[in-house]
Amino acid sequence: MLGYIAKRLISAVPVLFGLSVIVFAIMALIPGDPATAILGAYATPENVERINRDLGLDRSLPEQYFAWITNVLQGDFGRSFRLNRPVLDEILERYSATLVLAGTSLVICSILGLLAGIVSAVRQFGWADRIITFFVLIGISMPAFWLGLLLILVFAVQWRLLPASGMYAIYGGGDLPDLLRHMILPATTLAVVATGVIARLTRAAMLEVLRQDFVRTARAKGLDERTVIYKHAFKAAFVSVIPVIGIQAGFVLGGAVYIETVFQWPGIGQMLVNAISTRDILLVQGGVLFVAASYVLFNLAADVFQALLDPRLKS
């Protein structure tokens, strides 16, 4: 197992390298020059030149990449000129807020999606299947940002049950119950689409597995239907759904961009949207790289988990 993990970690290195090149290249392609963005339209040529030299923009692209990646690997993502603080500090603070939200969502959508998918497959063509299929269809067609607004209208404005925005109450909040209260609406919104996708694929995987020879063997042994479905069929189906959950992590992390904007959640998505509109390049660069890298590592963890359950994958 350790060997397998090491192998997967090594195979992630070129992917991470590729990510960093893409992120760097995207940012290097930005039209207009950062100096003007920082200094404003009325900057003197001397100041522009000085800024360019400070930022290393007078050097060749490979040199710039090398300088940038060396710093990044040492934890130096540069300084955000709008916020006037190190990019890494800002990212870490924001990312922890995103992780709390996205992580909760991922747990919700995995559990609900798997359950709904199993029930749907077991009761295929029955009313439970129809109802679930109907909700799945609504879920995967739902603009999450719109659903967020609807939930705010109903639960925060109409019924005044839950807070509409933020992560903590401004006065007297800050504890766990307060966090949970603030998290219900955004986490639910964020989970809806992914729940639909996971439910759909779990249903398909279960139906596929229930046709396999080893399920017939389980029946031929005289096992009861519960054991056949929830032990034999589900384990095989679950193994094939794990990578899907890994991919959904990407959609949840990406979807956080909308949800954090709608609910004013102080996470990295909201930070990125703000940074893009203020053209705070280093912040965008660092944020995108950080989230993408964490997504790669998350998928790696999903692969390892899959291999733990399916010994065939290790060899």
Binding site: P31, A144, L153
Partner: protein, 596 residues
């Protein structure tokens, strides 16, 4: 992926007309088509509909609620007519979604075609690049691209298109790889066609269904995600407005005038949902595997639709007595019998060989005995199976389950697919015991170990924790037999137990079955296509052809004096050592009538 490949490697033979009627048969898809058609019609007709100017502001009329005189859906924060903006905004959103889909499909398909066709290093480099794009969380890459290009609708369109290229590239490559190795592509190459010409005239038509499926499943996302970017203020810039930017602007007056943001959101939802409904319908039509209904869940027991109700009990000295068994398969609306009027019996300790070519119905017969034929499409349409004089199908499902694995046990053909790949073999054997006996786990486990030793697995102590894939074919089949022996059954039904094994292992497995039968007095129903096996093991034999038993009798007598022409052929097919070419010479006249 594999689904898509399966879908398209067999070229769609149905005419366009029948595809359409299939699509319209799907009620959900038709619903989607109608909603989408209505929205599209409104959007197309926007210039000639009697609508207000979508950008004409009128501060005096701001934030009018829906159903106001002159403003059916009210006005927004600048007094603009929401209905007019909604229809014009839909036009933009649909156009942008379609354009993004077209761009993603074009570039993604070209990458997929070239990578799949060229193979080797080109393929490797291109697909690694695609993997790299997919390593980004979906929307994040679009954000980064918009960050570079600057916020605008056209840049959002590019960003969404680029993010979706990998889906097309991967699906198209998968199918292309399959097509390139086919004969017609070789033929085109030999006829001197150039690469580009082969790609576009030979390969592309085979790939088109995948492109269409991918388009129909991604266009909804693309509309949704461009609307999302506009919602964030990174897409359409005022005064231009798509549905997403209407929603984003309306958000500012959410508490005072919710209709301004709720209405465009509802439109996005309706649009995306109708496209998804239609997309699912298109996929079902183009994917023959789904169309055939292969993926219906099999029930725990074969359906019973017996024409007549036989006696639930009879007096018999046979341990297994099959009378007039008929098992059918549902094909569309028709019910086609697979085996008809099957009758045979098996006495205690006896071995009966059921022999026939593949497709003759011998496996269906074997599985029918305890209702293990997958259903749908299978069902028992007539007859009875008496075990110790009691009809299996007159029992409840629980009653049948009590027989399975305890009184009657199965050994299946291919132990690689019939053993559960994710459970240790020892646990699988123990589970068979625990299904019928109330003993604790460690007892079951030590019993499993004994069984493994019994069936001749060396170092059973270590192998008990092995997974099926870690064993050889012969060992796996021994596990299958150990599992069958778990509850000391009276009858073992072995369905081609040696077919997946090589010859030397075959002989050993047969010996093992033979020894166990003598030692424990079990009856054995052996299904095979090999008369050599029957001659070696069975007391009696029944010959099956096209779902019928055409001849039955004592093995020695049937071998010495076969009555049916088909039996003679089967016997002739067993080669003898040292016969050489004479074997084939001898066979030829028997099969001569088959030649035109």
């Amino acid at each position: 992926m594999s689904q898509l490949q399966a879908a398209t490697t067999s070229p769609a033979t149905s005419s366009r007309l029948s595809s359409w009627s299939l699509l319209l048969n799907n009620r959900l898809a038709t619903g989607g088509l109608i909603i989408l058609g209505l929205i599209a019609l409104l959007a197309i007709l926007a210039p000639i509909l009697p609508l207000d100017d979508p950008n004409a502001t009128s501060p005096a009329d701001r934030l009018q609620p829906p159903l106001t005189e002159g403003h059916l859906l009210g006005t927004d924060q600048l007094g603009r007519d929401v209905l007019s903006r909604l229809i014009w905004g839909s036009q933009i959103s649909i156009a942008v979604g379609l354009a993004a889909t077209a761009i993603a499909a074009l570039f993604g398909s070209i990458i997929g075609l070239v990578a799949g066709y060229a193979g080797g290093r080109t393929d490797n480099v291109m697909m690694r690049g695609i993997d790299m794009l997919m390593a980004f969380p979906y929307i994040l890459l679009a954000l980064a691209i918009v960050a570079v290009l600057g916020p605008s609708l056209i840049n959002a369109l590019y960003a969404i298109a680029i993010v979706n290229i990998p889906f097309f590239a991967r699906n198209v490559r998968g199918v292309t790889v399959g097509l390139v190795s086919r004969e017609f592509v070789d033929a085109a190459r030999l006829s001197g066609k150039g690469h580009a010409s082969i790609l576009f005239t030979e390969v592309l038509p085979g790939v088109l269904p995948v492109i269409v499926i991918t388009m129909s499943t991604t266009v909804g996302w693309m509309i949704l995600e461009t609307a999302g970017l506009s919602f964030l203020g990174l897409g359409a810039q005022p005064p231009q407005a798509d549905l997403g930017s209407m929603l984003g602007e309306g958000r500012r007056v959410l508490f005072t005038a919710p209709h301004v943001s709720v209405i465009p959101g509802l439109m996005i939802f309706a649009l995306v949902m109708s496209i998804n409904l239609l997309g699912d319908g298109v996929r079902d039509v183009l994917d023959p595997r789904l169309r055939a209904g292969d993926l219906t869940r099999p029930r725990s027991m074969t359906r019973l639709e017996r024409r007549s109700k036989p006696e639930p009990r009879i007096e018999t000295d046979a341990i297994l007595d099959v009378q007039g068994l008929e098992t059918s398969f549902q094909k569309g609306r028709k019910t086609v019998p697979a085996v008809k009027d099957i009758s045979f019996s098996l006495k205690k300790g006896e071995c009966l060989g059921l022999i026939g070519e593949s497709g003759s119905g011998k496996s269906v017969t074997a599985l029918s005995l305890l209702g293990l034929v997958a259903s749908p499409p299978g069902m028992i349409t007539n007859g009875a199976v008496y075990i110790e004089g009691e009809d299996v199908f007159s029992r409840t499902e629980t009653g049948v389950r009590a027989l399975r694995g305890s009184k009657v046990a199965y050994v299946f053909q291919d132990p690689l697919t019939t053993l559960h790949p994710l459970f240790k073999v020892g646990d699988q054997i123990a589970e068979a015991i625990l299904a019928h006996r109330r003993i604790n786990r460690s007892e079951a486990r030590s019993r499993a170990l004994e069984l493994m030793e019994k069936v001749g697995i060396r170092d059973a102590k270590e192998r008990v924790d092995a997974f099926p894939h870690e064993m050889s074919g012969g060992q796996r089949q021994r596990i299958g037999i150990a599992m069958a022996l778990a509850n000391d059954p009276d009858i073992i039904i072995a369905d081609e137990p040696t077919t997946a094994l090589d010859v030397t292992v075959q002989a050993r497995i047969l010996d093992l079955l033979q020894d166990l039968r003598r030692e424990r007095g079990m009856a054995l129903l052996l299904i095979t296509h090999d008369f050599g096996v029957v001659a070696q093991v069975c007391d009696r034999v029944a010959v099956m052809k096209d779902g019928d038993i055409v001849e039955a009798g004592i093995t020695g007598e049937v071998l010495a004096d076969p009555q049916h022409a088909y039996t003679r052929k089967l016997i002739a097919c067993v080669p003898e050592i040292g016969q050489g070419k004479a074997f084939l010479e001898g066979l030829r006249p028997l099969f001569a009538e088959k030649q035109p």
